[in-house]
Symmetry: C2
Protein backbone atom coordinates (compact mmCIF):
# COMPACT_ATOMS: atom_id res chain seq x y z
CA UNK A 1 0.00 0.00 0.00
CA UNK A 2 2.90 2.28 0.67
CA UNK A 3 3.17 3.73 -2.81
CA UNK A 4 -0.53 3.75 -3.64
CA UNK A 5 -0.86 6.92 -1.62
CA UNK A 6 -4.58 6.39 -1.11
CA UNK A 7 -4.38 6.57 2.66
CA UNK A 8 -2.02 9.49 2.81
CA UNK A 9 0.86 7.60 4.34
CA UNK A 10 4.36 8.28 3.05
CA UNK A 11 5.87 5.78 0.65
CA UNK A 12 9.11 3.95 1.36
CA UNK A 13 11.21 6.68 -0.22
CA UNK A 14 9.56 9.29 1.95
CA UNK A 15 10.52 7.43 5.07
CA UNK A 16 14.13 7.34 3.91
CA UNK A 17 14.71 10.98 3.17
CA UNK A 18 11.64 13.08 2.47
CA UNK A 19 13.28 15.96 4.27
CA UNK A 20 16.99 16.52 4.59
CA UNK A 21 17.82 19.61 6.58
CA UNK A 22 20.38 22.19 5.56
CA UNK A 23 23.13 22.53 8.10
CA UNK A 24 26.06 24.87 8.55
CA UNK A 25 28.41 25.79 5.75
CA UNK A 26 26.43 24.27 2.88
CA UNK A 27 26.24 20.73 4.12
CA UNK A 28 23.02 18.70 4.33
CA UNK A 29 21.82 15.91 6.58
CA UNK A 30 22.33 12.47 4.99
CA UNK A 31 24.34 13.93 2.08
CA UNK A 32 27.98 12.85 1.76
CA UNK A 33 30.77 15.28 0.93
CA UNK A 34 32.49 13.76 -2.10
CA UNK A 35 35.59 14.39 -4.14
CA UNK A 36 34.80 16.40 -7.28
CA UNK A 37 36.54 13.80 -9.45
CA UNK A 38 39.12 11.11 -9.01
CA UNK A 39 42.41 12.81 -8.13
CA UNK A 40 44.69 13.02 -11.15
CA UNK A 41 41.92 12.24 -13.67
CA UNK A 42 41.68 15.86 -14.83
CA UNK A 43 42.94 19.31 -13.80
CA UNK A 44 40.90 20.93 -10.99
CA UNK A 45 41.54 22.58 -7.63
CA UNK A 46 39.72 23.06 -4.35
CA UNK A 47 36.33 21.69 -5.31
CA UNK A 48 33.89 19.32 -3.63
CA UNK A 49 30.68 17.59 -4.73
CA UNK A 50 27.45 16.67 -2.94
CA UNK A 51 24.69 14.70 -4.66
CA UNK A 52 21.43 16.25 -3.47
CA UNK A 53 19.00 14.26 -5.63
CA UNK A 54 19.72 11.12 -7.66
CA UNK A 55 16.38 9.36 -7.86
CA UNK A 56 16.11 6.68 -10.58
CA UNK A 57 12.60 8.01 -11.22
CA UNK A 58 14.04 11.37 -12.29
CA UNK A 59 15.70 12.00 -15.64
CA UNK A 60 18.21 14.34 -14.01
CA UNK A 61 20.40 14.53 -10.95
CA UNK A 62 20.92 17.65 -8.86
CA UNK A 63 24.38 18.15 -7.41
CA UNK A 64 25.96 20.89 -5.33
CA UNK A 65 29.55 21.84 -6.11
CA UNK A 66 31.64 24.16 -4.03
CA UNK A 67 34.90 25.75 -5.11
CA UNK A 68 37.20 27.14 -2.42
CA UNK A 69 38.69 30.61 -2.97
CA UNK A 70 41.35 30.33 -5.67
CA UNK A 71 40.01 26.98 -6.90
CA UNK A 72 38.45 25.96 -10.18
CA UNK A 73 36.51 23.19 -11.93
CA UNK A 74 37.93 21.29 -14.89
CA UNK A 75 37.98 23.00 -18.28
CA UNK A 76 35.98 20.50 -20.31
CA UNK A 77 33.17 19.90 -22.78
CA UNK A 78 30.65 17.12 -23.40
CA UNK A 79 27.42 16.41 -25.22
CA UNK A 80 25.31 16.71 -22.10
CA UNK A 81 23.98 20.03 -20.90
CA UNK A 82 24.47 21.70 -17.51
CA UNK A 83 21.83 23.85 -15.85
CA UNK A 84 23.51 25.78 -13.04
CA UNK A 85 22.12 27.93 -10.23
CA UNK A 86 24.74 29.74 -8.16
CA UNK A 87 23.94 29.31 -4.47
CA UNK A 88 26.72 31.16 -2.69
CA UNK A 89 29.62 33.47 -3.28
CA UNK A 90 30.97 35.02 -6.42
CA UNK A 91 33.31 33.98 -9.18
CA UNK A 92 33.64 33.77 -12.92
CA UNK A 93 32.70 31.20 -15.50
CA UNK A 94 33.76 30.47 -19.04
CA UNK A 95 31.03 29.30 -21.43
CA UNK A 96 32.34 28.90 -24.96
CA UNK A 97 34.34 32.07 -25.59
CA UNK A 98 32.45 34.11 -23.04
CA UNK A 99 33.79 34.94 -19.59
CA UNK A 100 31.18 36.19 -17.14
CA UNK A 101 31.10 37.20 -13.51
CA UNK A 102 28.58 35.18 -11.51
CA UNK A 103 27.04 35.60 -8.09
CA UNK A 104 24.36 34.16 -5.89
CA UNK A 105 21.25 32.87 -7.72
CA UNK A 106 22.53 33.65 -11.22
CA UNK A 107 21.60 31.03 -13.83
CA UNK A 108 24.19 29.51 -16.18
CA UNK A 109 23.36 27.23 -19.11
CA UNK A 110 26.15 25.16 -20.64
CA UNK A 111 25.13 23.99 -24.13
CA UNK A 112 26.42 20.73 -25.68
CA UNK A 113 30.10 20.49 -26.62
CA UNK A 114 30.91 23.90 -25.22
CA UNK A 115 34.11 24.49 -23.27
CA UNK A 116 33.32 25.60 -19.74
CA UNK A 117 34.98 26.21 -16.41
CA UNK A 118 34.07 27.84 -13.09
CA UNK A 119 36.54 29.77 -10.96
CA UNK A 120 36.21 31.06 -7.40
CA UNK A 121 38.47 34.02 -7.93
CA UNK A 122 37.05 36.23 -5.24
CA UNK A 123 37.68 36.06 -1.51
CA UNK A 124 34.84 33.61 -0.86
CA UNK A 125 33.82 30.10 -1.91
CA UNK A 126 31.66 29.70 -5.02
CA UNK A 127 28.86 27.18 -4.53
CA UNK A 128 26.36 26.12 -7.16
CA UNK A 129 23.63 23.64 -7.98
CA UNK A 130 24.07 21.74 -11.24
CA UNK A 131 21.22 19.85 -12.89
CA UNK A 132 22.40 17.22 -15.34
CA UNK A 133 20.93 14.22 -17.16
CA UNK A 134 21.36 11.00 -15.17
CA UNK A 135 22.59 9.30 -18.36
CA UNK A 136 25.39 11.34 -19.84
CA UNK A 137 28.60 11.15 -21.82
CA UNK A 138 32.09 11.45 -20.40
CA UNK A 139 33.69 14.92 -20.36
CA UNK A 140 36.45 15.68 -22.88
CA UNK A 141 39.58 17.64 -22.04
CA UNK A 142 41.01 20.16 -24.52
CA UNK A 143 43.97 19.20 -26.68
CA UNK A 144 46.95 21.54 -26.82
CA UNK A 145 45.66 22.79 -30.18
CA UNK A 146 42.19 23.44 -28.79
CA UNK A 147 43.68 25.27 -25.81
CA UNK A 148 45.74 27.42 -28.16
CA UNK A 149 42.59 28.40 -30.05
CA UNK A 150 40.80 29.28 -26.81
CA UNK A 151 43.79 31.40 -25.78
CA UNK A 152 43.62 33.56 -28.90
CA UNK A 153 40.98 35.53 -26.97
CA UNK A 154 42.92 37.61 -24.43
CA UNK A 155 40.02 37.64 -22.01
CA UNK A 156 39.70 33.86 -22.14
CA UNK A 157 43.47 33.44 -21.76
CA UNK A 158 43.42 35.63 -18.63
CA UNK A 159 40.56 33.58 -17.23
CA UNK A 160 42.29 30.27 -17.91
CA UNK A 161 45.41 31.54 -16.17
CA UNK A 162 43.39 32.71 -13.19
CA UNK A 163 44.42 36.30 -13.80
CA UNK A 164 42.18 39.24 -13.00
CA UNK A 165 39.84 40.39 -15.74
CA UNK B 1 30.34 25.07 -36.46
CA UNK B 2 28.49 26.61 -33.58
CA UNK B 3 27.68 23.37 -31.79
CA UNK B 4 30.85 21.51 -32.66
CA UNK B 5 32.66 23.43 -29.97
CA UNK B 6 36.05 22.82 -31.56
CA UNK B 7 36.95 26.47 -31.76
CA UNK B 8 35.65 27.44 -28.37
CA UNK B 9 32.87 29.68 -29.60
CA UNK B 10 29.51 29.54 -27.87
CA UNK B 11 26.75 27.54 -29.53
CA UNK B 12 23.43 29.07 -30.52
CA UNK B 13 21.88 28.31 -27.14
CA UNK B 14 24.74 30.03 -25.38
CA UNK B 15 24.10 33.21 -27.29
CA UNK B 16 20.45 33.11 -26.24
CA UNK B 17 20.81 32.75 -22.53
CA UNK B 18 24.08 31.28 -21.28
CA UNK B 19 23.89 33.62 -18.32
CA UNK B 20 20.72 35.03 -16.83
CA UNK B 21 21.39 37.31 -13.91
CA UNK B 22 19.50 37.20 -10.64
CA UNK B 23 17.75 40.45 -9.92
CA UNK B 24 15.87 41.84 -6.98
CA UNK B 25 13.23 39.90 -5.11
CA UNK B 26 13.86 36.51 -6.71
CA UNK B 27 13.35 37.44 -10.31
CA UNK B 28 15.76 36.62 -13.12
CA UNK B 29 16.64 38.29 -16.41
CA UNK B 30 14.74 36.77 -19.34
CA UNK B 31 12.56 34.63 -17.04
CA UNK B 32 8.83 35.33 -17.06
CA UNK B 33 6.75 35.48 -13.91
CA UNK B 34 3.91 33.01 -14.50
CA UNK B 35 0.71 31.99 -12.81
CA UNK B 36 1.19 28.86 -10.70
CA UNK B 37 -1.75 27.18 -12.46
CA UNK B 38 -4.78 28.22 -14.42
CA UNK B 39 -7.08 30.10 -12.06
CA UNK B 40 -9.92 27.87 -10.84
CA UNK B 41 -8.27 24.63 -11.99
CA UNK B 42 -7.31 23.63 -8.43
CA UNK B 43 -7.19 25.15 -4.94
CA UNK B 44 -4.11 27.31 -4.29
CA UNK B 45 -3.32 30.78 -2.96
CA UNK B 46 -0.64 33.42 -3.43
CA UNK B 47 1.82 31.44 -5.50
CA UNK B 48 3.84 32.22 -8.63
CA UNK B 49 5.99 30.16 -10.98
CA UNK B 50 9.16 30.88 -12.96
CA UNK B 51 10.66 28.34 -15.35
CA UNK B 52 14.43 28.59 -14.87
CA UNK B 53 15.51 25.74 -17.15
CA UNK B 54 13.38 23.86 -19.69
CA UNK B 55 15.90 22.61 -22.25
CA UNK B 56 14.65 19.80 -24.53
CA UNK B 57 18.10 18.23 -24.11
CA UNK B 58 17.47 17.80 -20.37
CA UNK B 59 15.23 15.10 -18.90
CA UNK B 60 14.04 17.50 -16.20
CA UNK B 61 12.89 21.08 -15.82
CA UNK B 62 13.88 23.38 -12.99
CA UNK B 63 11.23 25.77 -11.78
CA UNK B 64 11.13 28.38 -8.99
CA UNK B 65 7.89 28.70 -7.05
CA UNK B 66 7.20 31.41 -4.55
CA UNK B 67 4.38 31.40 -2.03
CA UNK B 68 3.39 34.70 -0.45
CA UNK B 69 2.88 34.80 3.34
CA UNK B 70 -0.37 32.96 4.13
CA UNK B 71 -0.43 31.24 0.74
CA UNK B 72 -0.17 27.60 -0.24
CA UNK B 73 0.34 25.25 -3.16
CA UNK B 74 -2.30 22.74 -4.24
CA UNK B 75 -2.76 19.59 -2.15
CA UNK B 76 -2.18 16.94 -4.81
CA UNK B 77 -0.42 13.74 -5.81
CA UNK B 78 0.92 12.28 -9.03
CA UNK B 79 3.19 9.56 -10.36
CA UNK B 80 6.05 11.96 -11.02
CA UNK B 81 8.56 12.86 -8.36
CA UNK B 82 9.48 16.33 -7.07
CA UNK B 83 12.98 17.24 -5.92
CA UNK B 84 12.74 20.51 -3.99
CA UNK B 85 15.40 22.89 -2.67
CA UNK B 86 14.07 25.71 -0.50
CA UNK B 87 15.66 28.99 -1.59
CA UNK B 88 14.12 31.59 0.68
CA UNK B 89 11.96 31.99 3.74
CA UNK B 90 10.34 29.45 5.97
CA UNK B 91 7.14 27.45 5.95
CA UNK B 92 5.79 23.95 6.31
CA UNK B 93 5.22 21.09 3.94
CA UNK B 94 3.10 17.99 3.97
CA UNK B 95 4.63 14.85 2.43
CA UNK B 96 2.35 11.84 2.84
CA UNK B 97 1.27 11.97 6.48
CA UNK B 98 4.30 13.95 7.61
CA UNK B 99 4.21 17.68 8.32
CA UNK B 100 7.63 19.31 8.51
CA UNK B 101 8.96 22.82 8.99
CA UNK B 102 11.23 23.89 6.14
CA UNK B 103 13.67 26.73 5.70
CA UNK B 104 16.30 27.99 3.33
CA UNK B 105 18.30 25.29 1.50
CA UNK B 106 16.43 22.34 3.04
CA UNK B 107 15.82 19.45 0.62
CA UNK B 108 12.37 17.89 0.16
CA UNK B 109 11.70 14.74 -1.87
CA UNK B 110 8.12 13.99 -2.91
CA UNK B 111 7.78 10.30 -3.85
CA UNK B 112 5.25 9.04 -6.43
CA UNK B 113 1.55 9.22 -5.56
CA UNK B 114 2.18 10.94 -2.26
CA UNK B 115 -0.09 13.77 -1.11
CA UNK B 116 1.90 16.95 -0.71
CA UNK B 117 1.44 20.65 -0.12
CA UNK B 118 3.62 23.63 0.77
CA UNK B 119 2.48 26.49 3.01
CA UNK B 120 4.10 29.86 3.69
CA UNK B 121 2.74 30.15 7.20
CA UNK B 122 5.41 32.41 8.58
CA UNK B 123 5.78 36.15 8.09
CA UNK B 124 7.85 35.83 4.92
CA UNK B 125 7.50 34.37 1.44
CA UNK B 126 8.53 30.74 0.90
CA UNK B 127 10.49 30.27 -2.33
CA UNK B 128 11.79 26.97 -3.66
CA UNK B 129 13.36 25.29 -6.65
CA UNK B 130 11.52 22.21 -7.94
CA UNK B 131 13.16 19.71 -10.29
CA UNK B 132 10.66 17.58 -12.18
CA UNK B 133 10.66 15.28 -15.20
CA UNK B 134 9.86 17.14 -18.41
CA UNK B 135 7.39 14.37 -19.32
CA UNK B 136 5.02 13.86 -16.43
CA UNK B 137 1.48 12.89 -15.50
CA UNK B 138 -1.26 15.28 -14.48
CA UNK B 139 -1.72 15.97 -10.75
CA UNK B 140 -4.69 14.39 -8.97
CA UNK B 141 -6.78 16.21 -6.37
CA UNK B 142 -8.02 14.37 -3.26
CA UNK B 143 -11.60 13.12 -3.13
CA UNK B 144 -13.70 13.96 -0.09
CA UNK B 145 -13.03 10.43 1.20
CA UNK B 146 -9.29 10.79 0.72
CA UNK B 147 -9.33 14.16 2.49
CA UNK B 148 -11.22 12.61 5.39
CA UNK B 149 -8.56 9.94 5.73
CA UNK B 150 -5.79 12.55 5.69
CA UNK B 151 -7.63 14.51 8.38
CA UNK B 152 -7.67 11.58 10.79
CA UNK B 153 -4.18 12.75 11.73
CA UNK B 154 -4.69 15.84 13.91
CA UNK B 155 -1.35 17.31 12.86
CA UNK B 156 -2.21 16.92 9.18
CA UNK B 157 -5.69 18.36 9.73
CA UNK B 158 -4.18 21.42 11.40
CA UNK B 159 -1.76 21.83 8.51
CA UNK B 160 -4.49 21.53 5.88
CA UNK B 161 -6.53 24.17 7.72
CA UNK B 162 -3.53 26.49 7.91
CA UNK B 163 -3.59 26.37 11.69
CA UNK B 164 -0.46 26.67 13.81
CA UNK B 165 1.36 23.49 14.61
Amino acid sequence: MADSGDHGSPGPLASVAALRAFSENFRWAKVDLLAYKEEGSAPFAGITRQILFADPLLGCELRYFEIAPGGHSTLERHEHVHAVVILRGTGRCLVGARVAAVGSHDLVHIPPMTWHQFRADGSEALGFLCMVNAKRDKPQLPSEAELAVLRTDANVAAFLDGRAR
